[in-house]
């Protein structure tokens, strides 16, 4: 514990390596990119993603509505069939 090694004693080496990993003229490149008009490709990609998401939401909504209508129709059909069975001559005959 008394002479425990200090891991951060090599921190200056980390900063030195990090600086060496930077390509030259970072400030110039950043300012150039900042001043450039928005990338057309990324605009197209954003538009594509937005439209796809909207289309998917619309498709899901239509599918859900269709399912609901089908369920309601199915319920109504079952009720009609029950009524038809009750009012048929076979069901009204006295035992």
């Amino acid at each position: 514990m008394k002479n425990a090694p200090d891991p951060f004693s090599v921190w200056p080496d980390v900063e030195h390596c990090a600086s060496a990993a930077l390509r030259p003229n970072l400030a110039g490149r950043v300012l150039l990119r900042f001043a450039a008009p928005p990338d057309e490709l990324s605009l197209r990609a954003t538009l594509w993603v937005g439209l796809s998401t909207a289309a998917a939401c619309l498709a899901l909504t239509l599918a859900f509505q269709t399912w609901r209508e089908h369920r309601v129709t199915g319920d109504a059909l079952a009720q009609w069939q029950d009524l038809a069975a009750l009012s048929s001559p076979a069901s009204t005959d006295a035992p």
């Binding site: 514990m1 425990a4 080496d13 980390v14 390596c17 990090a18 990993a21 950043v30 900042f34």
Partner: protein, 187 residues
């Protein structure tokens, strides 16, 4: 005597308020000077967070561009440093998440190899040894340790992490203990 981490690299006193305000106003020379002033520290932060040299340049570029876009909306220029490191921290965490998904779908992508850094091999080996240990910590703890090493105060780190000073102090202490134990095991 308990093991203590080396005192952090003496930080600059923060950028002069005039420089930040001039950069906010759009003065190119001020923006360039601000980038120059912070590029080494930011690169060190990103390198330590990610543990790899390959993404450092691109990520630093992205962070500085976000900085330039967000500068007009920074209402307190005196909080520039914690604001910048908060962006850097979030960018590193987002990058790590994206890489995780990329590795799932392309596990044998050669782009995952790191790039060689043109420095003295001994320095590189020492730095990589420390970074390997840092990667074993939780990203939150890692970012706090690195920010402490960069010279940010507890209050600034709390602001960066949207936490309280007490919580940061506790977390920092635990992270240092864990790193010390990992380092001793390795040694």
């Amino acid at each position: 005597m308990p093991c203590t981490l080396a005192s952090p690299v003496a930080p600059p006193d923060g950028p002069p308020l005039d420089l930040v305000k001039a950069a906010q106003a759009g003065t190119l020379s001020a923006q360039s000077e601000l980038i120059h002033a912070y590029q080494a520290r930011l690169a060190g932060f990103v390198y330590a967070m990610l543990g790899r040299a390959a993404p450092v340049d691109d990520l630093c570029q992205d962070i500085f561009i976000k900085m330039l876009r967000g500068l007009p909306h920074l209402h307190s220029p005196e909080l520039f440093e914690p604001w910048l490191f908060r962006m850097a921290r979030n960018a590193c965490i987002d990058h790590t998440r994206r890489e995780k998904w990329r590795h799932i779908f392309t596990p044998f992508d050669p782009a995952t190899d790191d790039m060689p850094i043109p420095v003295d091999a001994e320095k590189r080996d020492r730095a990589e040894a420390l970074l390997a240990l840092l990667q074993r910590l939780h990203p939150r703890d890692r970012s706090i340790l690195i920010m402490a090493q960069q010279g940010l105060s507890l209050a600034e780190m709390a602001r960066t992490c949207a936490s309280t000073t007490t919580a940061i102090k506790t977390r920092l202490h635990r992270a240092r203990e864990r790193l010390r134990k990992l380092y001793e095991k390795r040694a």
